[in-house]
Structures are given as C-alpha cells and as structure tokens.
C-alpha cells in the first residue's frame, strides 16, 4: 500500500532510460577491464615466455654495460660503480636494485653419459632468492648435506638442441631429461677443492646465467673464494612496478646501458598502448555511467517533487523519512541489481569476440572475475550515490523544502 502511494508518478520511460544508459556505461567499463586483463596476459606471455614480466605486476630489468676495448685489454668485465647504482636507485620508477654475485673460484661440472664422463669449466652467479619463482625446498643449500640446485637459462638448452645437437648429430635433450641427469661439480680455490652433487631444478627464460642459491654462493665464497668479495657488480637487476614506463627506456638509453633478457622496448610500448587504450575506453564507460547517474538523479528529483504531497501525507501519519527512503531505494536497488546482472551477461558474451582467436594462438584469456568485481564495485558506488540522493530529497520534503 505504501509502495502504491509512493510509486505514483514514476515514469517507466525515465527508469528504462536510466537502466539502459547505466547498462551501456557499465558494459564498456567491464569490457575495457577484461580486455586490459586479457591483452596484458597475452603480452606478458609473449614478452617473457611466462616468466619475468607481468603487465601490471613487478618486472625485473637486467642491465649491464657494453664491453669496451679497454675491458678486452684489461681482461675485466665492465662494472657498475656505487654512484651509478645510487643514481639508479634514485629513479622514481626503480624499486630494489640488486647486483649479480659471480663465483670467484674455479667451477668444473661433469656428467656421466654412457660410461663416459663429460666435464667442462663453468661459472655460477646468484641473484636474491625472492626474485626467483621457485619453491624454497628446491632452492636451498645445506652444507651438512651439500647438493647444489642450479637454474640455467632456457636459451642454453635451445642453443644446444637447435644449434649444436642438430648439426653435430648429438641427441636433443628435453628440460625434464636434463633435470634428471646427475651432475657433479668440483669447486676449487684458496687451497681447497671439493666435489659436490648438483641438479638442475629449473630453466629461466629471463635469467641469462647459471644461477645458484645465495646461501650456496656465500658458503662457497667463504671456502674457495679468491677475492675479498667487494667487487662491483657487472650486471644489475632492477625491480620496477611499471615496466611500461617510458622513463625507464629513456634513462637506460641515456646512460648507454644494455638491457638483457625479455621485455624489449617494443613490447613495453605495446603494453603501454594497451594500458592507454583500456584507460581511455574505461573513462568513456565511466562518463556514460555518470551521465546515466545524472539522468536518475534528475528523475528522482522530479519524482519526489511530483510526489511531495503524498510523501508529506505519509509523514503526517507517522511514516519516517527512513521508511519512505527505503521504499524508493529498494526500487532503484532492484534496477541496479538487474543492470549489474545484465552487464555481467553482456561481458561474457562480448569477450567471446576475442577469446577464441586468442586461444587459437595459445594466449588463453584471463578469468572475468576482475571485470565482474569492477562492475559490481561501480554499481555499489552508483547505488550508494542513489541512496544519498533519495535520502536527501525525502528529508527536504520533511523539512518542507520540496
């Protein structure tokens, strides 16, 4: 009965117009978010082969200096000075800056294949453990039961399989097979020699080295190290939250630093373009949603004004502004809930437009959860604004201002 009194003068056309406009705005926002997520996932996959870079997450940039004639003549690798490292750290886009630690002792690695032992001189490097996405159990070193976990660059295996093995009539080796081959490493230096078992625990597409855990590197340096351990690093890993920031590329080019590993400038620009595109489309969606909100606010003003006598009559009987607000709010909330559901359905249909072609080129789209959460959040904000407007209008009637 209360609803009957209050819903007098409601314009179905106005409400339908609002619902349609909000639906269009919301679908645009949600589609942009979904596209951003799908494209970002695809770009990160193509840029880093699934490791090292995420469009919105952290990315590690590995830099080094170009080798000069002086380095060749002096037999040293170009290294970064403390001042240069400090200058890097002070850049707004730079997170933690860490150096590669290189082995300063002799390393020989050997494998037994068909009764023959193949061995080669090797080197190790270490980077902070937290930069490696590998379970801690696999990436640890215990001096009491020494076994050295190793990560090698995927490029090394590729080089062997498609270069050396193909032309030298050697068998191609899979990652899994290589991981199961027992390796023996011999460390020497500082008057000591030790032979330890080792195993390959992973392959990295962004870490272009033979990496061992930091704990092993420190242990080996203390026993076999021939330097004081204060050498300047020749390669640095910079963590950054926004790898697409053009300032990074500009700075590294100005300093003439070489960028190693994945994420060349072109991919960075592509990622940036996707971010800009998705942002612009999202803004358009938000503007449409805001305009729709404007339509509703005006409709509510009109409705409350037309019904002010009925509302006053109800208040005269003892109905509180809260009860009257609730009645109108329930109506708007029902419309908003319907619009949210419809927008979710539209999103799921629309994403099919690019979902199938992406899957065909091995770029699986991401879950629509983020887009749905965004849509629901937008509608919760819109609904909260609706509530505020209705409450304010009804109180104006209470105060006799409407």
């Amino acid at each position: 009965m209360l609803r009957l009194v209050l819903k007098r003068n409601i314009s179905i056309i106005q409400m339908a117009g609002y619902a349609l406009a909000v639906l269009v705005g919301l679908v645009i926002v949600m589609t942009a978010v979904q596209f951003y997520g799908d494209a970002g996932s695809a770009l990160s996959k193509s840029a880093a082969g699934g490791a090292g870079i995420e469009l919105t997450g952290k990315r590690n940039i590995i830099i080094s200096k170009p080798v000069s004639l002086r380095n060749t003549l002096s037999g040293t690798a170009p290294s970064f000075s403390d001042a240069e490292i400090e200058a890097l750290r002070s850049q707004p886009w730079a997170g933690t800056v860490s150096g590669f630690k290189a082995s300063d002792y002799g390393v020989w690695a050997g494998v037994e294949l068909g009764g023959r032992t193949l061995s080669t001189a090797l080197f190790f490097e270490s980077v902070p453990d937290r930069l490696l996405d590998i379970p801690a159990d696999d990436w640890s070193f215990d001096p009491e039961h020494p076994s050295v976990p190793i990560i090698i660059s995927k490029d090394y295996l590729t080089l062997y399989n498609f270069g050396f093995a193909a032309t030298g009539r050697m068998p191609a080796i899979s990652e899994r097979m290589l991981s199961q081959i027992p390796i023996v490493v011999t460390l020497s230096g500082n008057g000591h020699t030790a032979t330890l078992p080792a195993r390959i625990v992973g392959f990295s597409s962004w870490l272009n080295t033979i990496a061992v855990p930091e704990t092993f590197m420190d242990w080996a340096h203390s026993r076999f190290g021939t330097s004081d351990g204060r050498e300047q690093p020749s390669r640095l890993i910079i963590e950054t939250s926004d790898p697409t920031d053009p300032a990074i590329e500009k700075y590294l080019a100005a300093e003439a630093y070489d960028v190693a590993g994945p994420g060349d400038g072109g991919m960075g620009r592509a990622s940036r373009f996707v971010v800009i595109l998705a942002t612009v489309v999202s803004i358009v969606g938000v503007i449409i949603t805001l305009l729709a909100l404007g339509i509703l606010v005006l409709s509510l003003y009109l409705l409350v004004q037309k019904n002010s006598r009925a509302i006053s009559g109800l208040m005269l009987l003892g109905y509180s502004p809260g009860q009257i607000t609730s009645c109108y709010f329930r109506m708007v909330a029902a419309i908003n809930a319907g619009v949210t559901l419809a927008a979710c359905g539209a999103l799921l249909l629309l994403r099919r437009l690019w979902q199938e072609p992406m899957t065909e080129i091995d770029m699986p789209p991401v879950s629509p959860l983020a887009a749905i959460v965004t849509g629901v959040t937008v509608m919760l904000v819109v609904t909260a604004v609706n509530y505020g407007v209705i409450r304010r209008l009804v109180r104006r009637v209470w105060l006799g201002k409407c």
Binding site: M1, G313, L316, S320, P321
Partner: protein, 220 residues
C-alpha cells in the same frame, strides 16, 4: 517515550501575525502571546473566527510547521528541538491528528487509507475498523477510492484513521464542518469513547459547527 501529560504554549504567535501583537484580536486571544497549558484527560474546544490561525496552531503542535515565535513544550521539552525519530514516535503513539485538509490519498480506497495508518500502529483490528465505518454509516463506501467520496464522507474516514492509533492528545481541526447533526453526534461519541479509554486529552478547533462534545472553551 513516556505519555505526554501536558502541552504548554509560551508566548506563541504565528510569524505571519508579526506586527499585529497589539491588535484587538491578538490581545483578546487566550492562545496567542499567552501562557496556555493543555492537560491530558481534558477536552478543549478552541473557537475562533476564520483566519485567526486555528490550523496553524494544530500544525505547530503536531510539529508540521515551525514558523512561530515563542515556545511549545510537551511536559517541559521544547518540541522545536525534537529529532525526526522522536517526532515520528509522537505521531504514532502520542498525538493523533485530523487535519482540516484531511490529507487522504485519493487513489486509495477509504478502507486502505485507514489501514495505511493502522499498519503503522497496529492499534485496531480490521473488524474494529469495519465496525467504525458501519457506525459512521459509510461502510458501503469502504472500497470506494477516497477521492470519489463527498467531503462529509471523507471527514468521517479521516476521523476513523485518526482513531487508529494510541494517543495522549487528539487534535481535531474542524472535524465535522461538513457533517449533519446525527453524524456529528456519532463522531463526538466515538471521540469521547476513544479519549476516555486512553485517558487522553482532545483539542478541537471550530469556526461555527463544533463537534458536539462537552469541552472547555478557549478563544483563539
């Protein structure tokens, strides 16, 4: 909230009467610019010529309007300071009001107009309400939209609605101006019965056709 035992007016004057403080009409008034106490359990009839502010007085006491000088208190508490929740509670449980404009919802039936109030207070059974319609001889109009009833019939519907709540005071603004003597008497009986049952006070305004209820007369 406890029952309202007394309504007090201290120097109250509608703002529209400003500048007329020394006029003969205001000076003769027992209400405007006076100290007046209305007690629970007592029936009052406020007589006045048209335009002296009877409806304004009811609206001031009911908390609908605040365009007056002076203070109105319920048991010493200034009603101008009451918050929304307290005003709503008073309107549901302590102060019943039959406005001169009746304020019925034209599109609702006569019965629904009454039920709209009763659902808020849950004070009467539907059978009680139907009996009141019968007593006032409008039971055949219960299902008619209120907008189609005559003013006299609408007055009776509005009276039934006003009686569908507990009250300490019942404010009746020219409640029987369009009723004949027989209906006037029935209305008076129903008002008196409801008020006495609750020990409530009744404040009736009138310009010439007063509710036939024995009451203390006050000149506005």
């Amino acid at each position: 909230m406890a029952e309202i035992e007394r309504i007090e007016l201290h120097g109250v004057l509608p703002e529209v009467f400003r500048g007329e403080e020394n006029s003969a009409a205001v000076r003769a008034s027992q209400v405007w610019l006076s100290d007046l106490t209305l007690r629970r359990g007592t029936f009052y009839r406020i007589d006045a010529a048209s335009g002296m502010g009877k409806s304004s007085l009811c609206a001031f006491i009911y908390g609908l309007r605040h365009d007056y000088v002076g203070t109105i208190t319920f048991d010493g508490a200034d009603i101008a300071r009451f918050d929304i929740a307290r005003v709503c509670d008073i309107r549901r449980h302590h102060l019943a009001y039959l406005p001169q404009a009746l304020e019925l919802f034209a599109e609702l039936t006569a019965l629904d107009n009454v039920l709209l109030k009763n659902r808020l207070t849950d004070f009467r059974t539907e059978a009680d309400i139907r009996a009141m319609f019968s007593r006032l001889e409008i039971d055949n109009r219960m299902d008619s939209p209120a907008g189609r009833l005559s003013v006299g019939q609408q007055q009776r519907v509005a009276l039934i609605r006003a009686l569908c709540q507990p009250f300490d005071f019942l404010l009746l603004d020219e409640p029987v101006s369009h009723l004949d003597e027989r209906n006037n008497r029935t209305c008076a009986e129903m008002v008196a019965e409801a008020a006495r049952a609750q020990g409530a006070g009744v404040i009736i305004t009138s310009v010439g056709n007063p509710l036939m209820l024995k009451a203390q007369q006050i000149t506005l």
